[in-house]
């Protein structure tokens, strides 16, 4: 627990792999926008004792050569990350971070090439499906937010059985939607099964999402709705009595 600006703040680590090009963006939001103590967590590092939460940022770790996340998952930091998760601490994987978490088996399913076979960068409406998680408690259920996506492999795949399990445990956190909240094929930008944009693990301390909440955390850049993801994490930390 760290005192920061006089309050008990949450210490964030931003996992930095070679090629993680959104690490600085996440750092900026955590440090300058939600004002939490933040440090980089280098891929060769293994000590997480000072951290309360870890962000696995977007980008192209190891160039995404071979397969996004495939090489990153063997980094020493990933073993530490697994222990961190077992302790119940919060981990959020954004874009490439989501891909890495699925490759590492911390989240089910996999992300394959977009249906269009093209990189896709645009604003995208997503709908909050479960507002009772440590990552979404500042939203209300079915709240819509406009959050940028930017990916080549964001097409979430899971088999029917896995999907049923996700549904049963309310692990689907975000779905791609239209601006008026419709969720169907026409509002699915990349072909994801069931319009899935973000999921949690069963214990709800690991979130993976393709959209980039750090890109809509300041109103100058469009809107600041994404900031609530980070604020939810901080709230859950404060509420947990830390």
């Amino acid at each position: 627990m760290v005192a920061y600006f006089g309050i008990n703040a949450m210490k964030f680590g931003v996992l930095n792999f070679p090629g993680s090009n959104c690490a600085e963006d996440c750092f900026h939001v955590l440090d300058k926008v939600v004002n939490q103590p933040t440090r980089y967590f280098w891929h060769q590092e293994t000590n997480t004792t000072d951290l309360d939460a870890i962000v696995v940022p977007g980008g192209f770790s190891y160039g995404d050569y071979l397969r996004p996340g495939a090489i990153a998952r063997f980094a020493p930091a990933m073993d530490a990350l697994k222990e961190f998760v077992e302790k119940g601490k919060l981990v959020i994987g954004i874009c490439n971070g989501f891909q890495i978490l699925t490759e590492a088996g911390l989240l089910p399913g996999s992300l394959i090439k977009n249906k269009s076979v093209k990189f896709l960068c645009q604003d995208q409406t997503i709908r909050v499906e479960n507002a009772k998680t440590p990552f979404t408690q500042k939203f209300h259920k079915h709240e819509l937010l406009m959050t940028p996506i930017a990916h080549n492999e964001g097409n979430y795949y899971i088999d029917d059985e896995g999907l049923a399990e996700l549904e049963a445990h309310h692990q689907i956190i975000f779905r791609y939607a239209s601006q008026d909240g419709t969720v169907d094929d026409s509002t699915n930008p990349n072909g994801s099964v069931s319009n899935i944009a973000g999921i949690c693990n069963k214990s709800f301390n690991v979130l993976g999402m393709m959209p980039h909440p750090e890109r809509n955390a300041e109103s100058l850049l469009g809107n600041a709705q994404g900031i609530k993801v980070f604020e939810s994490m901080i709230l859950s930390f404060t509420n947990s009595g830390n």
């Binding site: 090629g19 192209f60 160039g63 093209k118 990189f119 896709l120 960068c121 850049l221």
Partner: protein, 734 residues
């Protein structure tokens, strides 16, 4: 058999000069080194005499042409650095790899200045695809290549352009621009200072790939070039990302005295340039260069264009510390030689000296002074009679056709393939007047654009080129920015032909004059000549203008779309009766002819100052310039992505209706102003002696209505126009 020097691309005169420099016959390695360094691509033999015309200084300009990129002061001890570069020929034969490595190359120029790259842009020129053939593949591969590199490396692609004309069918243009940001104290120079200091090569291994790229770029494209395969390389954006991260970490320490990227002609060019800049010599041992393949000859090692490499000149004794930082990033930094004080470039292979050349002679390619001749076609196109063109019956249909024509249609299909938001600075994304980046930790923003208009420059090389500069500047003004500097990419045909040389010379004169009047000095640039094919001849003369602007307060950032129903729409500037050289004349009447619209630079400057001041007074709600497709197209663009409509009345005049609607009269803007601010705006215009016309009102009808002389001439549903505008690219590229 041809003598070796001829094989190396040298002329008899050049060879004689070489003999003077050396005072003896060169050996084959030396001949090869001169060959690449004195190619047009490296030596700027044809263009250097013309560059004298460029204005290159100003209170904000800290570095003009001559370094890897120019530097502009943006206050608070911060500077930006930027440059444009062409990769036309590699992209023509291997579009994905050619475009990708083009982006990679220009990023390294910015990195070599010591800056963090914060944005890339591109300027692409193609023919329109016919069916499913080659051109469609070429376009999609170029765009994929640009996206792939920029996306992976984490630099947002914040702007650019795609333009179509038949002239680019066999010879597409792929120009890329990169922008960097740093503090003044972080500026690096490409100079090999301090005899005894070490030359270190960092990044990728050196291979046989790309050998002869520089001379390849200095040739016309024909069938046999298809065999110039070594000239094509595969980009490695991941390696470049590591290179950026590692270099910036090293630069922050006090270990490095000089930096040079390795672009065309690789080691030979980077070492000889840094040496001659410092007035020093260098000694290189090629056997120390880490290579990818065995058995490379010294000449091959020296001229290889393997990508993602940099040359650092490192203080003696600091080599291990530099290497340790690179090691952290899984890279190596290897000493390949050192700075000497004798002015010679000495290449050794172990103990054996294989080349010994005065370094300055390599970088001082003999200038070729040519004389231009007015091309024949100009007398025909200039005598074009506009009155022979009849007015279209239906302006609605005309507008629809223009809205969906390839040069005017929405480019969303293109830029959604580029990550334009990474680094979280992009306030105005592609599709706006300029790409606008905020600067974290300040109130400032910077604006960037690339602009070209091949048809204008073809129909009037000098005046057309002026317009390209003016038009570029208008985009910045409309964004709320003061235009501050320019980088130019000169894409022309074979300068050995007098008509082409005329185009080049006139274009440079036009650019120079416009930059002088508009106070946007030229800080860097690139020339790509020999853009010709045997079938089609030369491309349109196509100078690509990259421009930067500065916004002191992010609150002044202004965008195109109308903001509120009830706002009043104004045109700044005057209508004219001109339709020559316009998009309208080409798309609707199939004519590429006439003269370009008249441009008066002093009026242009006053108009721009007026609009920027009005924006800074916070009385303007939206702004755009009036360019391709004229007023009607500008109006549609202000309505897209809004739920508004507009009711417009064009003021009485004696001009043709098509000129009023679609003509491209210069020095114009389209603004919207809140009713409360209207008086202030009008009296400010009067004070400034700038012509404005009140055109109408923004409303919530969702329709664009234009009336002239009491009659409706356009009545269109905006949603329909917008879907037509959006449909063109997806359909063309399906």
């Amino acid at each position: 058999m041809k003598p070796l020097w001829k094989e190396a691309g040298l002329t008899q005169k050049e060879y004689d000069l070489l003999l003077q420099h050396l005072g003896r016959e060169p050996n084959p390695t030396e001949t090869a080194l001169y060959g690449v360094m004195w190619s047009e691509h490296c030596g700027y033999k044809n263009t250097r005499p013309l560059f004298k015309n460029f204005p290159t200084t100003g209170p904000r300009i800290l570095q003009g042409p001559g370094e890897n990129a120019g530097i502009v002061d943006i206050d608070d001890d911060q500077v930006i650095t930027f440059k444009v570069e062409s990769h036309n020929h590699p992209s023509a034969i291997a579009p994905f790899q050619g475009a990708a490595t083009g982006v990679g190359g220009i990023i390294r120029d910015i990195l070599a200045m010591g800056a963090k790259p914060i944005g890339v842009l591109n300027s692409l020129h193609f023919a329109t695809p016919k069916g499913k053939g080659h051109t469609k593949w070429l376009i999609s591969e170029v765009i994929r290549g640009i996206g792939d590199y920029g996306n992976c490396i984490g630099i947002p692609t914040i702007g650019g352009e795609v333009r179509f004309a038949e002239t680019y069918r066999g010879n597409p243009l792929v120009n890329a621009m990169c922008v960097g940001l740093m503090n003044k104290s972080e500026i690096q120079t490409a100079s090999a200072e301090g005899p005894g200091n070490s030359l270190m090569i960092v990044g990728n291994l050196t291979g046989r790939d790309g050998i002869g790229g520089a001379s390849f770029a200095s040739k016309e494209l024909d069938e046999t070039n298809q065999e110039d395969r070594g000239a094509v390389q595969v980009g490695d954006p991941f390696m470049e990302k590591l290179l950026i991260d590692a270099c910036l970490e090293v630069f922050a320490k006090d270990f490095v005295v000089g930096v040079q990227d390795m672009g065309a002609a690789g080691i030979i060019s980077s070492t000889s340039e840094t040496a001659s800049k410092a007035g020093n010599g260098v000694e290189i041992d090629v056997s120390l260069v880490p290579t990818r393949e065995a058995g490379m000859s010294p000449a091959e090692i020296m001229i290889s264009e393997s990508q993602e490499r940099m040359l650092l000149i490192v203080k003696q004794g600091r080599e291990d510390e530099v290497n340790a930082i690179f090691h952290k990033w899984d890279l190596h930094a290897v000493v390949i030689g050192n700075v000497t004080n004798d002015g010679f470039l000495r290449v050794k292979e172990g103990d054996v000296t294989v080349a010994e050349i005065p370094a300055a002679s390599l970088t001082d390619a003999p200038i070729i002074c040519r004389v231009g001749k007015v091309p024949d076609y100009l007398s025909k196109t200039q005598s074009f009679d506009e009155s022979s063109v009849s007015l279209p019956d239906d302006m609605n249909a005309t507008l629809q056709k223009l809205v969906s024509s390839p040069n005017i249609a929405s480019r969303r299909w293109v830029y959604r393939q580029y990550d334009h938001m990474v680094q979280t600075n992009t306030v105005v994304r592609p599709g706006g007047n300029t790409g606008v980046l905020r600067i974290k930790g300040t109130q400032k923003a910077v604006t960037f654009s690339t602009d070209a208009n091949g048809r204008y420059c073809y129909l009037n090389p000098k005046e057309g080129s002026k317009i390209v500069i003016a038009e570029a500047a208008r985009n910045h003004i409309a964004s709320g920015a003061l235009p501050i500097a320019v980088t130019d990419g000169l894409n022309f045909g074979n300068p050995e032909k007098p008509e082409i040389f005329y185009q080049l010379e006139q274009s440079i004169l036009g650019i120079s004059e416009a930059c002088r009047v508009l106070d946007t000095p030229i800080i860097s640039g690139n020339a790509s000549l020999y853009n010709e094919t045997p079938d089609q001849g030369a491309i349109y003369p196509t100078p690509v203008i990259g421009m930067a602007g500065l916004i002191k307060n992010v609150e002044h950032i202004t965008t195109k779309p109308f903001k509120r129903a009830g706002d009043v729409v104004f045109q700044v500037g005057d209508f004219s009766n001109e339709i020559g050289a316009s998009e309208y004349l080409e798309v609707i009447h199939g004519k590429i002819s006439g003269d370009v619209p008249k441009i008066e630079l002093a009026l242009e400057k006053r108009t721009q100052d007026f609009v920027l001041n009005a924006i800074q007074k916070s009385i303007i709600n939206s702004a755009t310039d009036i360019g391709d497709g004229g007023l009607a197209i500008a109006l549609t663009e202000c309505l897209y992505e809004t739920k508004f409509g507009a009711s417009i009345e064009i003021p009485e005049s004696s001009y043709r209706l098509d000129a009023l609607l679609f003509g491209e009269a210069q020095s114009r803007f389209l603004l919207s102003v809140a009713p409360d601010n209207m008086k202030t705006f009008q009296s400010y215009a009067e004070q400034s002696n700038i012509p404005i016309s009140k055109l109408g009102i923004v409303n919530s009808s969702g329709n664009l209505r234009v009336r002239y002389q009491g009659e409706s001439v356009i009545e269109q549903d905006v949603t329909t126009l917008e879907s037509m505008n959006e449909a063109t690219f997806p359909e063309m590229m399906r």
